[in-house]
């Protein structure tokens, strides 16, 4: 003890908040980058397809989407094994909606990617005939992913902040 405070032992590491460490984990950072890339690319494709009838960067969007699927699957598995079991709380509900939306966004993305893939494989030059239903579903599910991922994160961070006060 010194000055009323316990002396810190030399082999005790400074306390780092687990949340801040987890938010900087390489897997989560990679997931954020892929999600950001897909979101920006998807918005560009959405806008240009409507305004000009073109789909710029669709190859990069599909390839990054495949990468996002793998990274997200690993992240979600790790995340759930850490936070399970289910609790009746707002952040859990928002996280569940985000996870369902992500699964549906990826699934509808693969439905859209299939005609693109077959055309690319056949080295065709015709415009890809995307399914209207799959296209609409992919747009809305992607938007729900962004909405509920951000809401989930906001709810968790605010709950943390409330707990510290």
């Amino acid at each position: 003890m010194s000055g009323g405070e316990p002396a810190r032992s030399g082999n005790i590491l400074p306390l780092v908040a687990p949340r801040s460490r987890r938010l900087r984990a390489p897997l989560l950072v990679l997931l954020w980058w892929l999600l950001g890339f897909e979101a920006a690319g998807g918005l560009v494709i959405f806008f240009m397809r409507l305004a000009a009838g073109t789909t710029p960067g669709v190859t990069a969007h599909v390839v990054a989407g495949a990468g996002l699927t793998l990274v997200y699957a690993v992240y979600q598995w790790q995340h759930w094994t850490r936070v399970a079991p289910w609790r009746s709380r707002l952040d859990y509900a928002l996280g569940l909606i985000a996870a369902i939306s992500m699964a549906l966004a990826l699934a509808s993305g693969y439905v859209l990617a299939w005609p693109w893939f077959t055309r690319a494989f056949a080295r065709g030059h015709d415009a890809v005939a995307y399914s209207t239903l799959a296209s609409a579903a992919h747009n809305i599910m992607s938007m729900l992913v962004l909405t509920f991922v951000l809401s989930h994160l906001a709810a968790v961070l605010l709950r943390d902040r409330g707990g510290k006060r």
């Binding site: 959405f46 409507l50 415009a127 209207t132 239903l133 296209s135 809305i140 938007m143 509920f148 409330g162």
Partner: protein
Amino acid sequence: MHIPPFSIFSAVSELFVTAGVLYVIRRNWTRQPFPFALFLTVALFEALVNVMYMANRAAAATSPAAKEVLSIGMKIAYACHGLLSLVAYLVFVVLGVLAYQEQKAGRWFFRDRPALTWSFLVMWVISVGSGEVIFALHYLV
């Protein structure tokens, strides 16, 4: 010109959704309890009906089998409105969640952030207003 019933339903219901959004913010602004059930209803309805309608219309307009021929100006208006609708919805849900969480701690999220609140409201009004203008130009003019 024939107006699809779902288009009329979406154009009218968007005004009720806007009333719901304004009510949620007004309650928070006047330091009254957050109407979470209304917020949830508005958020789900907007996503499952109006944004889905917009996404479906956007997808149909770009389909090779599209029957309607749109002018360049109308295409750009469609694209801008679609993009703004998606962003406005996203911001509404995130701000609503923040306001709900903050109110549980005795703070009034919208009241404490007037610049953010008014910016969001302006964006929401432009988003809804542009949809109504497109509806009117497309079907009524």
